[in-house]
């Protein structure tokens, strides 16, 4: 059964190739069948594998399928091999499962687009690349997927390429993540040089034995890999591309920029967790990055008017939670949050997509309003998603996963009160801005006419995801609520090396309940505040906005805290400036100058050839004078 593993990435690849070469001839339904079908079958196979893992797990809870030797240089011998363990299995499930739902959704959402087959081709390619990323047995192969998803992200953000703004957003996404990737590549070089392999399990093995905890090498490697992770996952300081990435079609945002690709950074760190455990400083960095990101993104989300941008900032913020979790050693909590987040964020995006679809590509929440009544199903599913995001206690999956993170941020040996505080504040902001969005968009007076309602292909994924967003959290319950640890137990083999199993550090139910209550209070408080400010008494905001300072503050928040401007000034503009100024290539000008000197001398010498015989004779005489003088006087 496990031997079917290779089919999981191969099917989307086949789908991609079919669509690439025959996409135009298949017709729309054919494209839909190939595009969604290939991912669907992959999802089924992934489910089968999961079942196999649950019923008869392979030895050591992992399974490697080596396809062929990729390179063989010296002792460095990476293979094209797939590696399945609980961690990659969860990722695979989410990628294929959520991916399938989103494909299905796209069948309806993109139906009127002229580039239907290109869309599905890119989506399939993305799923393929993402699967390679998660299933890669070594980091080099992981890098293939890593860059592959980057490419697809680029292609899909710029899917509607006729608008220059979309192209720009796509380029930004690619380039910014590439900055992080470069750091990551350097990390790989370091690993190859120091440990001689990129095969993940060997690597972790060797790192654990060869590097002292806290050693410089481990720290450097960890930080370099972190560079890649923050780039891909839209974390500080490379988060700026993600809000712009919303230029792509909404299913793309759901799949790539919410559920799967942007969490690749989380996956990478989880995958190489041993290196981080060897470098506590790097762990701290991860946690701080996460904490800061979640706060900053949360703040920025308040000022957005585009529904997708709000969601984008919320994504950044939620991934910040995952980083926070990773940073405190809560590996499985991070993955748990990844999973629930994939469900509810995909749900939110798809629901938002339905709204946008219905309102004929209207994305501004201030122009929506009152859709609650017009699109009840969409409203309900969106509300489920929003609740999950806002972590409404007990009934939503987001609550459980976030709670696990907050708890560990406080209690883990790597944790810290400030980290917890940041997370808690984040929870407040999350619920506030989430419900700000809900209230503004779905309540109040309708401002835009609903053109057409989504059909079942779009509604079914919403329902499915809504279901998952709700029940997905019940597999991992806090200690005092029965202490179900299905997820953590399942993940455990993947984090076998983790020093001092974080989850085991039990601080008693009192503390846990206390923390949870605080978080719950903050979350609900946020909703209440949102209700007051955006639904009940919007004039408060209007009043505040009259002041110049507040408007500036709003603009500052709206711009994502000015990071774009900062980077423009520091990097983009100088680069463009040099490129513009030096278009003629100063080196070339140097040579041209030499040539010009030659021409000048030619011209000057030409003046000596006067054509007058007396002058020539004088030349001879002068030459004689010089020649003789030299001969005689030296």
């Amino acid at each position: 059964m496990l031997d079917l593993l290779w089919l999981i990435p191969a099917l989307p690849l086949a789908g991609f190739l079919v669509l690439l070469f025959a996409g135009e001839k298949l017709g729309k339904s054919g494209v839909a069948w190939v595009g969604a079908g290939s991912v669907g079958i992959s999802a089924l196979i992934a489910g089968l594998l999961k079942w196999t893992f649950l019923t008869s797990p392979p030895e050591g809870h992992h399974f490697t399928q080596a396809l062929w030797t990729w390179l063989d240089v010296g002792a460095f011998k990476p293979e094209i091999a797939l590696y399945l363990d609980p961690l990659s299995l969860v990722m695979t499930l989410v990628v294929t499962g959520v991916g399938f739902l989103i494909h299905l959704y796209s069948v309806g959402y993109m139906h009127d687009d002229e580039d239907y087959s290109r869309f599905f081709a890119c989506m399939n390619l993305f799923v393929f690349a993402m699967l390679i990323l998660v299933l890669a047995d070594n980091l080099l192969l992981l890098y293939v997927g890593w860059e592959g998803v980057g490419l697809c992200s680029y292609l899909l953000i710029g899917f509607w390429y006729k608008d220059p703004a979309n192209c720009k957003a796509a380029q930004k996404a690619f380039i910014v993540t590439r900055v992080g990737d470069t750091a990551m590549a350097l990390g790989f070089f370091l690993l190859v040089t120091q440990l001689g392999t990129l095969q993940v399990q060997d690597l972790l093995e060797r790192a654990a034995t060869r590097w002292e905890p806290g050693s410089g090498m481990a720290l450097a490697t960890a930080l370099l890999l972190l560079g890649g992770a923050v780039g891909k996952s839209g974390q500080l300081p490379l988060q700026t591309w993600l809000p712009d990435a919303m230029a792509g079609p909404t299913p793309v945002s759901a799949l790539i920029h919410a559920a799967t690709m942007v969490t690749a950074g989380v996956y990478l760190i989880a995958r190489t967790y041993v290196i981080y455990t060897l470098a506590p400083a790097a762990m701290a960095a991860v946690a701080v990055v996460g904490a800061l990101t979640l706060l900053i993104a949360g703040l920025a989300a308040f000022a957005q008017s585009d529904i997708k941008r709000v969601l984008a900032y919320s994504t950044i913020s939620q991934i910040g939670y995952m980083f926070l979790a990773l940073g405190v050693g809560a590996w499985s909590a991070a993955m748990f949050h990844f999973m629930t987040h994939a469900f509810f964020k995909a749900l939110l995006f798809l629901a938002a997509g339905s709204v946008i679809y219905a309102l004929h590509h209207e994305q501004n929440i201030f122009k929506m309003g009152g859709i609650r009544k017009q699109l009840p199903l969409t409203y309900r599913t969106f509300l489920i998603g929003a609740s999950s995001l806002a972590a409404i206690p007990f009934i939503t999956s987001g609550f459980y996963s976030k709670d696990a993170i907050l708890y560990q941020a406080f209690t883990s040996e790597h944790g810290h009160f400030l980290l917890w505080l940041a997370g808690a504040l984040g929870a407040l902001m999350t619920s506030a801005y989430t419900f700000r969005m809900v209230f503004i968009a779905f309540f109040g007076e309708p401002k835009t006419h609903v053109h057409h309602k989504p059909g079942w292909v779009m509604n079914f994924p919403l329902l499915a995801l809504a279901f998952l967003s709700t029940v997905g959290g019940f597999i991992e319950l806090p200690h005092f609520m029965g202490h179900a640890q299905f997820f953590a137990d399942f993940m455990a083999p993947s984090f076998a090396h983790a020093a001092g199993h974080a989850a085991e550090a039990h601080h008693g139910a009192g503390l846990e309940i206390g923390l949870m209550v605080v978080a719950m209070a903050l979350g609900l408080g946020g909703i209440a505040a949102a209700y007051v400010l955006f639904l009940a008494k919007p004039e408060i905001i209007e009043e505040k906005m009259k002041s110049e300072g507040n408007r500036k503050l709003h603009a500052f928040l709206f711009s994502g805290l000015g990071f774009d401007k900062l980077y423009d000034t520091l990097f983009v503009n100088p680069y463009c400036w040099i490129a513009r100024v030096n278009k003629r290539d100063i080196v070339d000008l140097g040579y041209s100058f030499l040539a010009a000197v030659g021409m000048l001398v030619h011209f000057l010498l030409g003046l000596t050839v006067t054509g007058r015989v007396r002058w020539y004779a004088a030349g001879i005489a002068a030459g004689c004078l010089i020649l003789m003088s030299v001969m005689v006087f030296t």
Binding site: G598, G606, V613, G619, I620, G623, L627, V630
Partner: protein
């Protein structure tokens, strides 16, 4: 005069005789073809007699002339070149009005003068040979007397050559006054022994150098070159560029071999400066020149600068390098100026760059040969010019003359620029070329000569071993 001496002199005698025969024939029947036939017969006879003379060589005929392997080798070179010029001239003057026989007479006499130069070991003979060559050339340069530029060139050449010869003569007179002999060998010995007035001798050598440098058109004695090359009829230009320079180089080589490298450093430095200046001035002046003949004139200045590098570098390779380079240069110059004469029309010569526009497509054969010649001048492989340059650099590297070599490299780049300008204009689209420059008919003999030259150029560029062996035996025989 012994039989051996007579045999040894026979190549020179035959060429002189040919001049007289042509003159005699002209008094009966003026015919371009006949004159050419007789001229070629003369050259052929003397070339054949070279083999005859080689059997008795070396022979000293009076103190004036020494027929040794070096002389024979260069005689062969000079005569072959002369014959080629005759062939080119046939087609060229066929298109033009006026008597043609005089051309062959003067050509033969000039060649004879050059022949004397390569075999001379005495300053009196040097002077005579030089003047025979030069006076014939005055008339040859001004040969197309209906063309003002030709006359102007003739006059300029006459005035300047006489000035420089006077310097030479004065120098020789001073040397003679101090040393009491005009024989090369004895003079070198006496100078080496010392005991004479250094300043006088040095000054005199400088004056002699002026005379030689003028013929070789080295900076600062180069200024006549472009004007004379431009004004002279193209075949004559070919002759001036090849025979007269080649003969003078032979003299220089002979002196060089006699001196045996014992040249004071100051002189070496001076020569280096002259070589470098010649390269730079020649190439820079040619850079944006639009007249092909002038371009080639300037390039010849530079080429003699290169040649001087081999002399200066000295060492084992120098004589070989000089000779090989000279041969390559002569063959190529002959080819380039020959090409100008072959494709020139009746009214005027094809000398403007734009006259060459589209030549590649109009007359692919000629253009191809011309391009090959230019590549040879530039020293690109597959041509003799490459082997020549290779030799030159080898000689330079052997002796570690890095400054000179650096100049050679820079100047090769400069040179390439204007050679490529010509090539480029040949494959450019035909534009509004001035009429009258294009030949309507193909000069069969001329084209055949050029084809042979091109073949020889490429043969020497690909299989140089044979010629190298020959040169070695000639040069080392001294």
């Amino acid at each position: 005069m012994t039989e051996a001496q007579f045999v040894a002199l026979s190549p020179l005698i035959l060429v002189g005789l040919a001049a007289l025969v042509v003159m005699l024939a002209a008094s009966f029947k003026r015919s371009n073809g006949l004159a050419l036939g007789l001229t070629l017969a003369g050259f052929a006879a003397s070339l054949v007699s070279l083999a005859w003379a080689a059997k008795v060589a070396p022979v000293q005929v009076t103190p004036l002339i020494l027929i040794d392997r070096l002389a024979l080798f260069y005689l062969g070179l000079v005569f072959l070149t002369g014959a080629a010029v005759a062939l080119l001239g046939h087609g060229y003057f066929e298109k033009r009005a006026g008597y043609r026989d005089e051309f062959y007479m003067l050509l033969l006499m000039a060649t004879l003068g050059a022949g004397v130069l390569v075999a001379t070991t005495h300053f009196a003979a040097l002077f005579i040979g030089l003047e025979l060559l030069t006076i014939s050339l005055y008339a040859l340069v001004g040969y197309t007397r209906t063309e003002p530029r030709s006359l102007e060139a003739g006059l300029k050449y006459l005035v300047l050559a006489t000035v420089s010869t006077s310097f030479l003569l004065f120098g020789v007179a001073l040397l003679y006054a101090e040393l009491g002999t005009m024989e090369f060998g004895k003079m070198v010995d006496l100078i080496r022994q010392g005991g004479h007035r250094e300043t006088l001798v040095n000054g005199a050598i400088a004056l002699v150098g002026i005379g030689i440098g003028f013929k070789l058109a080295l900076v600062p004695l180069h200024m006549w070159t472009p004007d004379v090359y431009e004004g002279a009829p193209a075949p004559v230009t070919a002759f001036v560029a090849t025979v007269s320079k080649g003969a003078m180089t032979a003299v220089l080589l002979r002196l060089y071999l006699l001196v045996g490298g014992a040249i004071p450093d100051s002189v070496m430095t001076l020569l280096s400066v002259i070589a470098i200046l010649s390269m730079f001035v020649g190439n820079l002046l040619a850079l944006l020149q639009d007249n092909v003949k002038r371009i080639l004139a300037y390039s010849s200045i530079a080429h003699l600068g290169y040649l001087l590098v081999a002399f200066i570098a000295g060492g084992n390779f120098a004589p070989e390098a000089v000779t090989y380079y000279l041969i390559a240069y002569m063959a190529t110059s002959l080819g380039t100026f020959g090409m100008v004469s072959v494709i020139s029309g009746r009214e005027r010569e094809a000398e403007e760059l734009r006259d060459y526009a589209g030549l590649f497509w109009r007359r692919p054969f000629e253009a191809g040969v011309f391009a090959a010649m230019l590549m040879s001048l530039a020293g690109i492989p597959l041509t003799a010019g490459f082997i020549g340059k290779f030799y030159l650099l080898a000689a330079g590297v052997d002796m570690g003359a890095w400054v000179l070599l650096g100049s050679v490299v820079i100047n090769s780049a400069l040179g390439l620029f204007y050679y490529l300008r010509i090539v480029a204009s040949m494959y450019a689209a035909e534009t509004s070329a001035k009429p009258g420059a294009a030949a309507r008919e193909v000069a069969l003999l001329g084209s055949a000569t050029l084809a042979a030259l091109a073949l020889c150029l490429i043969w020497l560029g690909v299989f140089p071993a044979g010629l190298i062996t020959l040169i070695r035996s000639a040069v080392l025989g001294v």
